[in-house]
Symmetry: C2
Subunit: 341 residues, 2 copies
């Protein structure tokens, strides 16, 4: 389990407890959204919007030398920080903590475990002091041992009832509307949209179709091993407490290979964990587009890159230009951030 | 590697060397194909065709109590023996043998390996005497160490140029036309069609789109581990000589869970290796259909079940009726077998 971390955990705590100002929404910028009728109405006109639309137009125009047949129009999207927010910690960790609290009455043995006991006492600092081992315990207790149906129900219940501690929004309302609109635009243009996330594949599948229009079989992510076994007189899939695949960094191209089996032609990420995915996507002949979403908006969302403990972006910032990758500036390029500001 | 076998290898040899009569084609039955205009024209009228069409109609009729929304219309198909032939041995083994012969001039070291040496001398009996270890060597030498692009090219070249030793047909002409027609009918009815095979995922992906209309991301199969690494100055996926996943028997529901993330509502297989897939598909509320293709046609294809060394069907035959699964009788139910008899 040594790889199954949420990056530099030791510092997450700091972010978690420092009291952020709840992001303020910029209502002024909303007015023009309804007026325009072209593609990507939630994007401001400018080089980013232009580059994306030009790419889609040239790859879908059968008279263009850059035309790509529909079956090869594969676009991949990181999730945390690319399709929805990831501050103050990855939202999946909130799910895990809430799960442990909710189910603790049936598990008196959890209070003998220092990590779980600390979570039950709202002492995340102590809980995470155990580092990767502690985080693995948290993930396994809240993700393994369930049937696939139980886990899916558990995540769906959580996403319906839980609120983000800073914005008070439901977590699936902290998705980026311009990215949802972009994915719809791509699908209307004959693209297949896939999520390729370091987060848990089944966690994302539980709500991705309703939220993003992406079906379960177009989600790639980190996974636990699973077994087919009889539970309550019925043969079911049960999630095991053992890592199957860690879909981050160089794992992303491998996950794409194993699940999609085709090199994408567009890739969208926001952190160094997406670097290899953008590299794999763009390092091949033919039209290719790599895009980094740069978190520059401290007012409407969060501003972070090099020194962040979630979604750290160093190598990506240093090499985006020389690699020909587009850097989307959230503050400048997006008219709105969330669907309901 | 102990699981990576082609079932009861010790006996494959027998089948391989016993001289089968090349299957004779029944041209008489072809005439009526063109006349009918309903669905599944290559299927004879009868209970099998009726049951499949009724299932599709009730699940796609929005006024039916058994209506299934499009996003849940998932149909899974085994490959060897369900979509194409599997006699005298799984066709992937022919690919492996041909690969070893073709590339032996660049690998003088292979002749020091008894298994590979025997293959180079056309002595499959000796080659397979090493059992699972020998088979693993054959598979690894012919599948691992290549980039994904090299492997795909290699399989595509092979399928374009190789012929089946008994029929003289290209291997991708030994697909079952009634199944190809069925998959098209399902897709036209809003179903997604997936292959779920014990065979190699990348081997199938190389030709499945052209042959069956199934894109690479809708193929689930056995796989080797892979890594993302630099080859010839470019970052690429390289297949490693280590088993990643064995997609057979209880592995099939697990493979479906990990790749598709959704319990199918239709499943098609032909051997006991598909039993758990049919069970997983049909053991849940709502409309469900499990189908076994029963190889009953010694004239146009092959007749085998309980005592066969490929595609053995014992448990499936014993329990199909009590499980409510349809047994398709190839000889009676199909007007034609291959697309070009």
């Amino acid at each position: 389990m040594k790889h199954f971390t949420f990056h530099q955990i030791s510092g997450l705590l700091l972010i978690f407890f420092v009291s952020y100002c709840a992001p303020k929404q910029d209502y002024d910028s909303l007015e023009s959204v309804v007026v325009e009728e072209t593609a990507l109405t939630s994007w401001n006109d400018g080089p980013s919007k232009q580059k994306i639309i030009q790419f889609v137009e040239k790859t879908t125009d059968s008279s263009s030398p850059d035309f790509v047949p529909e079956s090869k129009r594969i676009a991949v999207f990181d999730n945390d920080g690319t399709l929805w927010a990831e501050n103050p910690v990855y939202f999946q960790l909130f799910y895990a903590i809430d799960f442990i609290k909710k189910h603790s009455p049936g598990h008196p043995e959890w209070s003998a475990n220092p990590t779980l006991k600390a979570i039950l006492e709202d002492d995340l600092q102590t809980a995470l002091e155990g580092g990767e081992k502690a985080l693995a315990e948290i993930v396994m207790v809240s993700h393994a041992g369930m049937t696939e149906d139980q886990f899916t129900s558990s995540v769906r219940d959580w996403i319906k009832t839980s609120k983000h501690p800073q914005t008070g929004k439901a977590f699936n309302q902290m998705i980026y509307y311009p990215m949802v609109e972009l994915m719809e635009y791509l699908r209307e243009s004959g693209y297949k949209t896939f999520i390729v996330s370091g987060g848990g594949i089944d966690f994302i599948r539980a709500w991705a179709e309703e939220t993003y229009g992406i079906p379960p079989y177009q989600v790639v992510g980190s996974s636990l091993k699973a077994e087919y076994t009889e539970v309550d007189g019925k043969n079911q899939i049960v999630k095991l407490p053992e890592l199957n695949f860690y879909d981050d960094k160089a794992g992303k191209p491998v996950g794409i290979h194993q699940h999609i089996g085709e090199r994408p032609i567009m890739a969208f990420g926001n952190s160094d964990g997406d670097y290899e995915m953008l590299e794999y996507t763009t390092q091949s002949p033919g039209p290719r587009l790599g895009v980094y979403i740069h978190h520059t908006d401290s007012i409407r969302e969060y501003a972070y890159d090099r020194n962040s403990l979630v979604g750290q972006l160093v190598r990506g910032l240093d090499n985006a230009e020389s690699n020909g990758w587009l850097l989307v500036d959230m503050a400048k390029d997006w008219k709105i951030v969330y669907p309901n500001p």
